[in-house]
């Protein structure tokens, strides 16, 4: 495994899992937007067994 950051190529999609539990969809396509929408309102509580309750998904639809 390399320590170098992976550089996106045309056609790649990127999802990041942040330490604080957020899921970031970087410039998603339609499919990933649907996934992000499904995940909104969900949260993984590390102390419980896969409990989903709060909002933690975010996406950047428009490029920045």
């Amino acid at each position: 495994m390399t320590m170098k950051s992976y550089k996106r190529r045309p056609g790649d999609l990127e999802i990041r899992l942040l330490k604080d539990g957020r899921v970031v969809f970087v410039s998603p396509d339609q499919g990933l937007v649907e996934v992000a929408r499904d995940l909104e309102g969900c949260r993984v509580d590390p102390d419980k067994e896969r409990t989903w309750d709060d909002t933690q998904a975010t996406s950047t639809g428009s490029p920045q």
Binding site: R8, R16, S62, Q64
Partner: protein, 276 residues
């Protein structure tokens, strides 16, 4: 779109296409002959290319649901670009088939798209193809020109009456940051002039991506300029900055709640017309 402008769209497209033999669509003023295959800073010859379309519900509220069409190629090199791969290699995107894209636009409209959102990359470097496309789009369509606004006067003129909403992505408020983060020293003066021009012919939403650590150098002067020169425009503060994976000149962290609140307070103090 305005009916008279819509009728002129094909003619405007041809005129813009003619200028590609000595391309000066943007302040880079490359002067290359795109009609004969030369490519300038944006990496495009005369072929218009697009890489994604989608129905999106998280643009600014008045625009949603918005049908986004992403055109490849850009005249800036933002250090935090989230679609950089398509701007560095625009030839990887598919060439625009006008009839095919018109059918997609029609289908998205039937699915509930309230606006047609033209973005990239930077749509200005593909303006000739976009005008040709708009000539075939239903005149009642609300067209959003989602742009970095870094283009020259002929592009601005060609858009009059065709762009209903200018979603102006105003990124930096300091020339040093503009050079370091976007690769364009003249960015601020060019973009601000185009926003003032757009305000005379359409609805303007100024969107500013809040850059962590750039509130005093970029956000504050941007908001103060809006308050002074264009207090009527709508302002959208985008708090979802995503740092690039590779370390460089761009901020490396995510925006925290304290900076987000500070930004909103700045805008509130200046009594700007904030929208979400």
């Amino acid at each position: 779109m305005k009916e008279n402008a819509h009728r002129e769209a094909l003619e405007r497209s041809r005129a813009m296409r003619d200028t590609l033999r000595d391309c000066r669509l943007c302040p880079r003023q490359c002067g290359v002959d795109r009609l004969h295959g030369q490519k300038g800073y944006c990496g495009l010859d005369a072929t218009v290319r697009w890489f994604r379309e989608m129905l999106y519900g998280r643009e600014e509220t008045p625009l949603n649901p918005s049908h986004q069409v992403y055109f490849a190629g850009c005249n800036l090199r933002c250090a935090f670009c989230s679609v950089e791969e398509w701007n560095l290699q625009p030839e990887a995107a598919q060439p625009m088939d006008r009839q095919e894209l018109l059918a997609v636009i029609q289908r998205r409209r039937q699915q509930g798209a309230r606006t047609l959102n033209l973005l990239g990359g930077e749509p200005a470097v593909s303006v000739h193809g976009i005008l040709e496309l708009l000539a075939g789009v239903d005149v009642r369509t609300t067209v959003v020109w989602n742009s970095n606004m870094y283009y020259t006067e002929p592009v601005a003129q060609a858009l009059v009456g065709l762009a209903d909403v200018y979603l102006a992505d105003l990124k930096c408020g300091d020339p040093v940051c503009a050079e370091r983060l976007l690769g364009a020293t003249d960015y601020i003066e060019v973009v601000r002039a185009n926003i003032l021009r757009a305000r005379q012919v359409g609805d303007v939403i100024v969107r500013h991506v809040i850059l962590p650590g750039h509130l005093d150098c970029c956000l504050r002067p941007t908001l103060e300029w809006i308050a002074d020169q264009a207090p009527d425009v709508k302002v959208s503060l985008w708090g979802e900055y995503v740092p690039p994976a590779e370390a460089g000149s761009a901020p490396q962290g995510y925006l925290g709640p304290a900076e987000r609140e500070q930004a909103l307070r700045m805008a509130g103090d200046l009594e700007l017309h904030l929208i979400e």
